[in-house]
């Protein structure tokens, strides 16, 4: 990030089904093809059609990981349910509002009195030209205001809609031109910084797609899952790909089945994964405990949404930390990994598969709706060499001990088909041979083994993101890492240096590594998106934090902004 991230933010609003999300995607793609970087997130209501939808886009020459405080452009196809975004979207005082006067009024809370206003008569234009679509008119208007070269816009539209035939294409182009003309008299108060001249090979990818690719790169060849927002895109991305690499994806009857199917497939030797959200994870916890006891590698991705219960299925929150870390009954050591950005969704998932296989353990990956459904331009990720390798028992002579106590805690696993390796994988407390027992010594020996194998493993640098210096640290996790990073840049511009500490590995905890990261830190600001300050309580349970530790926290879906973190840091220093 540059010292002062110069960016432009656009909010596109409309009723659900009006196509604003498509408009946002096309706009993002065009901007990226023109050499900028960008991030597109969505905020939608629960309705399938006709509710409210917002596509939130931030563009910069630098990579973008989060939204800033406000928007430069508010463009609405209609304002029908826009008031529901009151608390989420605010226009800068010098911002521009473009909307259809026939589609209602812009909500007063979003729009400062000083904002400039322009009309985009989508409804009327579509009445005159029935083949036009309102969201294409909006696209043309936004593209014009962002100065996207028209040949790039046309190429992007052609990529998406070219297959619909020439007439449809001509209508789309005419609609975008009309949109551009309608706003010709306007300009944004802040222009986009120059695009990168040679940005190199980049990808346009969502966090959910990145999870899918990370799974494949890690070696996953079987998945089973039950659809749930906002995780379904992982499954829909994986289903055809798995088939093409000789694997398969099964849509199970529920999450109880999906997690047990992947346990079965993995027991059979195939690296396996499921993806869900909080309600599904709740159904899976008993089975994840089984995978811990029977030492079956599995990866469970939880794309967090607002909870509890059905909560806010379409919006982000970080409130599944407790269930992920503590949700299993009994003493059930397992791994929890939280990706911090879109590219990290790939890396963390791949790492999760690797660790699951290496440690014969379940791994929960805690992504969230913000990351999962965000689409952004990222530098082409290098293929790290993490491919899951399981320690296998070769055809064993004599009495095979599946759960042998070894120095590392990891014991060779016989895969069905291996002669002489027959054993029963068991959730019952068992002996080293896998025979059920209720003996106290066997119980503690196997509990020790499962704990030791996770504790003794060297997780290296990936356990956390550690950046910056100073005696103040922001301690955060998951999708807020990018927000905190930008906050530290803002703070540096105001003369305050601070560190960023964001653990990627949430379980097992790494007390020694955290102690080292905190050397010289006198003040900590914990930043998290949960009502109950779950992360703060987790940190206090496992790590020694300085006496001067404060918490900046609120539930989803109102994302904490970089400026809020920066202000919190500043308040500390001034005090």
């Amino acid at each position: 990030m540059a010292d002062d991230p110069v960016s432009v933010s656009v909010a596109l609003l409309g009723s659900g089904g009006a196509g604003v999300l498509t408009t946002g995607q096309l706009l993002l793609e065009a901007l990226c093809r023109a050499g900028w970087n960008g991030l597109l997130t969505r905020s939608v209501g629960p309705q399938i059609r006709g509710g409210e939808a917002a596509a939130l886009l931030r563009v910069s020459a630098q990579p973008v990981e989060c939204h800033s405080g406000g928007f430069d452009l508010l463009l609405a196809i209609d304002w029908r349910n826009a008031a529901r975004f009151d608390s989420e979207i605010a226009l800068h005082p010098d911002g521009l509002v473009i909307g259809d006067p026939a589609g209602g009024e812009a909500p007063a809370a979003m729009v400062p009195a000083s904002a400039r206003r322009g009309d985009l008569r989508c409804a009327e234009l579509c009445r005159l030209h029935p083949e036009w679509r309102a969201n294409m008119i909006a696209l043309g208007a936004a593209a014009r205001l962002l100065a996207i070269p028209s040949e790039i816009l046309e190429r992007v539209i052609d990529n998406r809609f070219g297959h619909k035939g020439e007439a449809a294409m001509a209508a789309n182009l005419a609609a975008t031109r009309a949109g551009a003309e309608a706003v010709a008299a306007f300009a944004l108060a802040r222009a986009l910084p120059p695009a990168l001249a040679s940005p190199g090979k980049r990808w346009l990818i969502t966090g959910n797609e990145a999870v899918g690719l990370g799974a494949l790169r890690g070696g996953v060849r079987f998945a089973a899952a039950y659809p749930i927002t906002p995780a379904s895109e992982i499954l829909e991305w994986l289903a055809p790909k798995l088939a093409r690499v000789g694997g398969s994806l099964v849509q199970a009857e529920d999450e109880l089945a999906s997690v047990n199917m992947i346990i079965g497939a993995s027991y059979g030797g195939t690296p396996s994964l499921t993806a869900t959200s909080g309600p599904g994870l709740s159904l899976m916890v008993e089975s994840i405990g089984l995978a811990t006891a029977a030492e079956v590698p599995i990866v469970v991705v939880d794309v967090m949404r607002g909870g509890p219960s059905t909560g806010i299925p379409t919006k982000s929150e970080q409130a599944d930390l407790n269930i992920a870390v503590y949700g299993l009954h009994g003493d059930a050591p397992h791994l929890v990994i939280a990706p911090q950005s879109i590219p990290d969704c790939l890396l963390s998932t791949q790492w999760a598969v690797f660790l699951a296989e290496a440690l014969q353990s379940p791994v929960i990956v805690l992504s969230d709706q913000f990351l999962g459904q965000a689409q952004g331009a990222i530098a082409r990720p290098a293929d790290i060499a993490f491919v899951g390798r399981r320690l296998r028992a070769q055809s064993a002579g004599g009495a095979y001990r599946r759960y042998a106590i070894t120095g590392t805690g990891v014991s060779p696993m016989a895969i069905p088909g291996t002669a002489g390796g027959q054993y029963t994988a068991d959730g019952l407390t068992h002996t080293e041979r896998g025979v059920p027992t209720s003996g106290a010594l066997d119980h503690s020996a196997q509990l020790d083994k499962r704990c030791d194998k996770l504790e003794q493993y060297d997780y290296g640098q990936l356990w956390a993101t550690l950046e910056g210096e100073g005696d103040t640290a922001v301690l955060t996790w998951g999708s807020l890492t990018g927000v905190a990073r930008e906050a530290l840049t803002l703070a540096a511009n105001r003369g305050v240096r601070a560190r960023l500490i964001a653990p990627r590995l949430l379980a097992p905890t790494r007390p020694a590594a955290m102690r080292a990261a905190l050397v010289g830190v006198r003040r900590v600001v914990v930043v998290e998106q949960s009502h109950g300050a779950q992360f703060h309580k987790y940190l206090r349970a496992h790590y020694d934090l300085p006496a001067d530790t404060r918490v900046l926290q609120r539930p989803g879906p109102l994302t904490i902004r970089p400026t809020e973190i920066c202000d919190a840091l500043f308040a500390e220093n001034v005090a």
């Binding site: 690719l213 690499v245 199970a252 047990n260 079965g264 497939a265 069905p416 029963t424």
Partner: protein, 277 residues
């Protein structure tokens, strides 16, 4: 089933050295014997068989056999087995369950396993009671059967697993009796050989909580007619079933579940291209 047949397999080869926890006289001993006979009849090497189970007295069976075993949690054995078989079609996958495990907590999986028709064999050891938790009513318990948890009986109509299996799409439906392990073994072998999802309900008396079931050996009888491949005829027969017809009721010819064959991609770069711009 792709069998690697090895000669001269004896039932004893399929038993492990682990001593069962079952009560003396429990029907499950005979089911164990029936499994061993079935595997021996098929001649399938022990390392190519996976026996999956849930929780209950009946579900303890994998530890007592010399094949690969998976003793999971209560009610989820069919899902585990589907995962094993779909990812490893080369293995013979058999599931052992109880009437509580399979029809109550695992009831939804039963329906969907029948629908999905993965090539696995499902053996439910029905004693019409929760044995392991000491005598509570199960979905197949008679409505007037008195227990501590249901004084005077549940008053509920018993679940009919064979009807559910047939209606849900199971490709093979049969009933066996533990008291005749030879016949039960042959039935299980036949069920394993039959493609798709095969369901065998095994009447397996619980001598401790259902001593009345000792009378089952007098009640069981051969089916009045041959097995059919016509679901409508099978359904009609089930309507007059007294619950003690022993034998194959239905042999379907549905094509088993299998991943669709598609061109195999060696290099993930093909997928990555969709992101590049």
């Amino acid at each position: 089933m792709n069998a690697t047949t090895t000669l001269a397999c004896k039932p004893g080869d399929y038993k492990s050295d682990v001593k069962p926890i079952w009560c003396p006289g429990c029907g499950d001993y005979h089911v164990l014997l029936a499994f061993a006979r079935a595997f021996a009849e098929l001649g399938r090497p022990a390392q190519e068989i996976v026996l999956v189970s849930g929780i209950g007295c009946s579900s303890r069976i994998p530890a007592y056999m010399s094949c690969y075993g998976f003793h999971g949690i209560h009610g989820r054995s069919l899902a585990v087995a589907a995962g094993v078989k779909i990812a490893r079609p080369d293995l013979t996958v058999v599931v052992a369950s109880g009437d509580g495990d399979g029809y109550s907590i695992g009831g939804n999986h039963f329906i969907h396993a029948c629908r999905r028709n993965v090539d696995i064999t499902y053996i439910v050891m029905d004693n019409r009671i929760y044995g392991m938790t000491k005598g509570q009513p199960s979905p197949t318990t008679e409505p007037d059967f008195d227990t501590a948890l249901s004084p005077g009986g549940t008053g509920l109509r018993p679940f009919n697993p064979l009807v559910i299996a047939l209606a849900s799409g199971a490709n093979y439906v049969a009933r066996a009796f533990a008291g005749n392990p030879q016949e039960a073994g042959a039935l299980i072998a036949d069920a394993i050989r039959h493609p798709g999802f095969s369901f065998v309900e095994v009447l397996s008396p619980c001598v401790t909580y259902r001593p009345d079931q000792k009378a089952w050996k007098e009640r069981v009888h051969p089916p009045p007619v041959e097995a059919t491949d016509d679901p409508a005829r099978a359904a009609r027969r089930l309507m007059t079933d007294d619950g003690f017809n022993i034998g194959v009721l239905y042999r379907g010819n549905r094509v088993p579940y299998g991943p669709r064959a598609e061109a195999v991609v060696e290099d993930l770069a093909q997928f990555e291209a969709e992101f590049e711009f």
